[in-house]
């Protein structure tokens, strides 16, 4: 963390730019992108035999789609992309910690091997 106390940064980076709708366009496009991804997700259910996600690949595909959606929302809608990096770091601390810790915990339940846990 390199936070120096005297960065001359305005409170909100998004300030100013009065009557600037260009960002709105980005938002709409992002939403469309997200919608498309969601449609693909739904297709994994509607057409389970589609070669891309048949059998073992289903879960990886879903996880990737989920991750892309997840990060798109936090980066664009939640402005992490435009904001100070410290926010990203703080959020990642929680996120990564949660993912690691809970995966480790599920592993001790041997949940990844079918039918063994319980």
């Amino acid at each position: 963390m390199t936070i120096t106390s005297h960065d001359n940064v305005p409170t909100t980076v998004l300030d100013g730019a009065v009557k600037d709708y260009s960002r709105d366009k980005v938002y709409v496009l992002t939403a469309i992108f997200l919608a498309v991804l969601t449609i693909i997700e739904v297709f994994t259910y509607a057409a389970p035999d589609f070669p891309v996600w048949a059998d073992e690949l289903l879960i990886p595909v879903l996880m990737i789609l989920m991750a892309v959606k997840f990060f798109t929302i936090i980066y664009v809608f939640m402005h992490l992309k435009f904001d100070k990096p410290i926010l990203t770091r703080i959020f990642y601390m929680g996120l990564v910690l949660a993912v690691l810790v809970y995966i480790a915990m599920l592993s001790t339940f041997r949940i990844w091997f079918d039918g063994q846990h319980g």
């Binding site: 936070i3 120096t4 106390s5 005297h6 960065d7 001359n8 940064v9 305005p10 409170t11 909100t12 998004l14 300030d15 730019a17 009065v18 009557k19 600037d20 709708y21 960002r23 709105d24 938002y27 709409v28 992002t30 939403a31 997200l34 919608a35 969601t38 997700e41 739904v42 994994t44 259910y45 289903l58 879960i59 879903l62 789609l65 989920m66 997840f70 929302i73 936090i74 664009v76 809608f77 939640m78 904001d83 100070k84 410290i86 926010l87 703080i90 959020f91 601390m93 929680g94 996120l95 910690l97 949660a98 810790v101 809970y102 915990m105 599920l106 339940f109 949940i111 846990h117 319980g118």
Partner: protein, 211 residues
Amino acid sequence: MAETLTSRPTLAEADAHQAHAHIDADTNTGISNTKLGMWLFLASECLLFGGLITTYLLYKRPLEGPTPDEIFDIPFTSTSSFVLLMSSLTMVLAVSAIERGEHQRMRVWIGATAALGATFIAGQIYEFTVFVREGLGFTTSRFSSAFYTLTGFHGIHVTIGIIMLVSLVLLSLRGKIPEHKAETVEIVGLYWHFVDVVWVVIFAVVYLIPS
């Protein structure tokens, strides 16, 4: 590491100057306290939802009663996922509007966000009612408890979000959200998007991955 002998009585003068000479950024990080606070809160919410999602994953195969595959109505849940996703769009447009100082437009977008959120909740009430009718009570099996707790908890988050949104509209109508408080909208927005992001995870992990 020794430092050369420094004479520092001038420091007191430097201090005295500092207090009046203004610091341009309000804060050391350049981020307002409330926004930083909200992000910290959201980071900690990851562990809260993580715990509930983990519990669900552990318990998703019930010993008795309906199983997830039997019970889920994917077309319906997909629609409600869309609804929540689009509410994120309207939310971000509201933030963008207030940053430009367009109060009326901001209220419209926030109103739309709240309405879509309420629609999502309606969908959840519907879904829960149907599941209960189909024989999946809260106490039926380990799966049912875990499922209702996780999604219900998310639903409570959405509800709190809607309350905040409607309150924003009402306050804005009373002129309590002037430009310099535009950040309040952004912060409520952060919360809203986070709730959406949690649903993205729930939708994939709970609904789409077959058990």
